[in-house]
Amino acid sequence: MEAVGALERDAELMLRVRAGDTASFAQLLEKHRGPVVHFLFRMVQNQSVAEELAQEVFLRVYRSRETYEPTAKFTTWLFRIATHLALNQIRDRKHEKNQENLDEETSEGMTRQVADRGLTVEQSMVRDARLGEVRSAIASLPDKQRAAVMMHKYEELEYSQIAKALACSESAVKSLLFRAYETLRGRLAHLA
């Protein structure tokens, strides 16, 4: 169990939400909206799907307010819900085998990232190619490894938090991460 001593700020806010204070929920939303959407975007690699899932994450948090108990870090709970939804979505999408939206969104995402930088056409192409390889390498990881890397690298969660989000042990997380980075080293070594 985490954060059982001093009640963390997020847990305090959530307890206020439980008492009916929607302004506290707005504060939680403001603080965690970005990280949750970013995590989901990197997981599913589609912005509209990521935002739809993020809406569901916050909706579930709000729905659960009446029974909320601060026995774990709020972020851990939040990312556990997000991970659960992302893994379900990835599993469903695999069944559908429909890559059309992913391809469209991939191009769109890249364009947005490049457009802000004022790069030359050549630089943009190199960057697009590099980004494409990174995204492809991430997408090729097994689902749990991918989730572990996203939480470790981008969200900087602790091993214990990742373990709880993935419902496994800390040593299993370290093993997942090591194997994932090993795979990525093999796939992305030429980008060094």
Binding site: L59, T67, T71, K174, L177, L188
Partner: protein, 171 residues
């Protein structure tokens, strides 16, 4: 320092060093080791390259109407009548997973199953009822029965029977 590649916790040491999560003293010690160990140096260099490559995968900005959409969904749920609200919560499932949700329902499911089994035994062991189902039951009575059942679900939800085993926020 023992070479991390040859100790049990080596993976963790390399991960922590490359992700800059290692405490400064230990990192300095490991840096000295890396300077002398070709194998470790290769792993660290490759992992650093991966780390830098992953940095290029930036997330896009969140849509400006994200909050508006969410609040609209919340308002829509809040506006529902209590029993409908309970029904929505029931059909939409738990915050984390159905396995936990079903686990929460285990006592109720077990009781219901036991009740159904008992009813089945009684049906088999007792003579058939002489009086058939009352054909005079009208639409109004039927509606009342359904409403009573929904009220029961609502009551269970309000007293926390559904969620008391695993409150939200627990892992």
């Amino acid at each position: 320092m023992n070479c991390p590649l040859h100790v049990k916790e080596g993976a963790e040491i390399l991960l922590d060093y490359c992700s800059q999560r290692m405490d400064p003293d230990r990192a300095a010690e490991f840096r000295l080791h890396v300077a002398d160990c070709v194998d470790c140096r290769q792993v660290v260099e490759a992992q650093t390259a991966v780390w830098n490559a992953l940095d290029s995968f930036e997330a896009v900005s969140v849509s400006v109407d994200f909050d508006r959409k969410l609040w609209a969904r919340i308002d829509s749920e809040d506006a529902q009548s209590p029993w409908r609200h309970a029904w929505t919560r029931f059909v939409s499932g738990p915050a984390i997973g159905w396995s936990n949700y079903l686990f929460n329902w285990k006592p109720i499911l077990a009781t219901a199953t036991a009740g159904a089994a008992l009813a089945a035994v009684m049906l088999v062991s007792t003579p058939p009822a002489t009086k058939p189902v009352d054909p005079s039951m009208d639409q109004k009575q039927l509606v009342e029965r359904v409403e009573r059942a929904l009220d029961d679900v609502d009551m269970l939800n309000q007293v926390g029977v559904i969620d008391s085993a695993h409150p939200a926020g627990t892992i």
